[in-house]
Amino acid sequence: MNRSSSWAHEAIAVFAKDWLLELRTRVALGAVVLFAVTSVVASGFALAPPSGVPAEVKAALLWVVIFFAAVAGLSRVFVVEEETRTADALRLAVSSTGVFAGKLAFNAVLMWTLCAITVPLYLLLLEAPLRNASLLVIVVLLGSTALACATTAVGAIVAKATMRGALFGVLSFPVALPPLLVVIHATKAAWLSDNAWRVAAGDLQVLSGFMLVIVPASVLVFEHIWSE
């Protein structure tokens, strides 16, 4: 028997298990994506014709849609453990850091998938201008990761309270607001500005800085959320 568990090992095991559960039940992913697609189509309908809407509003709307879709899915990873009463077994087998890292990885992958589908669709349907595609990719990647970082620990809090779904939106909105505002600003830049890189550079720094603060803070706090 070969015992080599570090938190990275544990995180991989948790991630793999969650991914398997996801594939088996096809919940978060399928539903989150469909939710986002529905909202994009609805937005397209509500704002028709899209040419009249300012790019600012479009950038905000894109990220609001992504955020709402994320709200629908991101809290699942913890809620499901508590609701199905599997959390205790997990607590016994895995360190809290391992659990957090695994769940964060899962949420990040979920967000990337979500964005990979939503953003091109949105660009298409809402006739969003696109000056700087490579910047957009980086902004979206960093922004979605930052959202996952901001909300994963909140998901754990929500799972412990008796309220679930709706509360996640309420609690994660304030925490997710900083990256949300910054990424909206950066997206607008990628769409419109001629010197987009220069405009967005500051935003990307703030985003990275935010992650560098919130992830260690989450890890520290998570231990107290996770064990009773």
Partner: protein, 206 residues
Amino acid sequence: MKWQIVLRRVGKVFDERTVLRDISATITAPGAWVISGPNGSGKSTLLRIIAGLLTPTEGEVLYLYNGERLTARQQRQAVGMVAPDMALYRPLTALENLRFFARARGLSLRDSELLEWLEKVQLRPRAHDPVATFSTGMVQRLKLLTALLHRPPVLLLDEPGSNLDEAGARFIYQTVKEHAGHGIVVIATNDTRELGYGEPLIQLGA
């Protein structure tokens, strides 16, 4: 005296309800002990405290190996637990559940080895069925396996025999006897059969 669990004046208060008060005990390997008491007397609470799942309001629980305290990680690795409130991943199959717990604990067990474990509780033919379709007793058997997989020196069993048939009860009996030969088994139970599996450790609510 390799393995030892020391309870030092442990107490637990939920809100304002005192459930456990001033419980001290030293549990030394090898051997099997039984915590008994009527419903609501605090057996499960005490077992959860011993497992580290619940922080006592007062006192502390120490895990000692050759007299030295274990780290939180070592303690987690040393414990295997079964309780009525601990569930498995129902959408996953029996084998997938075992695989996850093995990997999470850093064990490298091959599927063939896991299938042998399943064989022990007559679940091998159902290895690839989701746990959601299992009967109460079948779930209980699988839960036992997940607690045994990493061969923990400390085994905490909360009502292990509930919903089991005779074959299942026999498996528990054998496991306890075998384990009590080298490690520590603590059983919390009301079942008259199981009361005799070990020496009385604590009688709650008497």
